[in-house]
Symmetry: C2
Subunit: 218 residues, 2 copies
DNA sequence: CAACATGCATACTGGTTGGTATGTTGTCAG
DNA sequence: CTGACAACATACCAACCAGTATGCATGTTG
């Protein structure tokens, strides 16, 4: 314990760091699932990508499904927050339409991202029908997303910057559907140009939501 | 054997009917792939769904991939033709917007279809990134779809029933993206109501494409 | 230091998978 | 009737795969 001298708050070469191990597994698993889908993702492949062993993995996650749930709750949910909810909340003062345009334009558009598609859509397409637990968690994310967009639109209506004749909930769904629809098109084409064109059209449509007298372009 | 007379053009109880066997395999394989995805679809499951044996399958298709390609080329492509291209072509006399609305509203919306999603999107999401041969065939279908919608929109512009300020190609992509986006949303929710709401909004948007003076509603 | 749980490593298993080798039968030409 | 080929049927295989049993090292606590 305290026989030999100096050792106050010392933990230099951490041999054991369970939280770090868990995170590395999660990240590697996410990449594998993102690429091949959940069902076709291989446990052994994930382990090979890290230098973690099977014993460690099954210590942190009790099954492949549990690993999948953690990916959704800790990674995919976080991505949605980072890219949509937080930016929208941080723009309380700005015009909501401008905020939405900013968010849409900030969606990653590197070839790598376009070719991989949207993680949320990928998992939904594959698993919603097959596994209730997956669906529940994925829907929670969709719901938060939808709520965030709805809220900002409603705020715009109060401000007078967003047209009053449209229903915030349905307009939010419309936007989300468009974003995901274009991601599917771009993924099929495996071409970032398709995505960029989509963004242009989405932005054009977003501009059409401005209340008269608050138009930027037309 | 042939002592008794009549036998002109006789082929009564064919025990062997290779074309029928092939079709049954294709249909069963499509259902399996539609449900579980291509990678997770099991050859043995497909065989169990029919009463065909493995020898027969590998006589007609040289590999699982070949079976997948046939599904795309002979079933998915045919569905797109039936639901979009042929109806649009057959409506040469009608208003293009009305034709598009009709087609969109005619998309299957039984719970079973909504929960399964769009076969084209399912396969695209799963395979476009992983297999060039899949992607090539899927893109051919998308291209035909896009072309069909573009053509009908352009015709509407010549007729004067469709707004001249919009670009037919981009408007077609916009429509396709929306249809698929809403299918993804509905599939995630596993709820036909989501799809019906989506249709209403798509129809509303389609109505906004009418040239002034040709409006139905506004 | 002992005792004990945490964190991880290794070897193994039972079941499933796509694919094949080989045998058998239906079909039809000659 | 008889090959001969097309259209299957059956048995089998090697590879893979999620999961587990077991053991060992590390850190903590009394």
């Amino acid at each position: 314990m305290l026989s030999a001298g100096k050792k106050p708050t010392r933990k230099p070469p951490k041999l054991r760091d369970p939280e770090r191990t868990r995170q590395r597994l999660l990240q590697a698993a996410f990449r594998e699932v993102y690429r091949y889908g959940f069902q076709s993702a291989g446990i052994d492949t994930i382990l090979a990508a890290t230098d973690v062993t099977k014993g460690a993995l099954y210590y942190h996650f009790k099954s492949k499904e549990a690993l999948g749930y953690a990916i959704i709750e800790e990674i995919v949910a976080e991505m949605t927050h980072d890219r949509w909810l937080r930016p929208l909340q941080r723009s309380r003062d700005k015009n909501p339409i401008d905020a939405l345009i900013g968010v849409v334009q900030a969606i990653p558009h590197q070839p790598r991202d376009v070719k991989g598609g949207c993680p949320l859509v990928n998992l939904t397409q594959e698993m919603s029908q097959l596994d209730k637990e997956f669906r529940k968690r994925l829907e929670r994310i969709f719901h938060g997303w939808h709520e965030g967009v709805t809220t900002v639109l409603r705020r715009g209506q109060h401000q007078g910057t967003v047209r009053r004749d449209l229903v915030p909930e349905e307009t939010a769904s419309f936007l989300i559907a468009m974003v995901e629809g274009y991601e599917v098109l771009a993924k099929n084409a495996q071409d970032a140009k398709v995505w960029n064109t989509g963004i242009r059209n989405i932005v054009g449509w977003l501009n059409s939501l401005r209340a008269p007298g608050n138009r930027r372009r037309g």
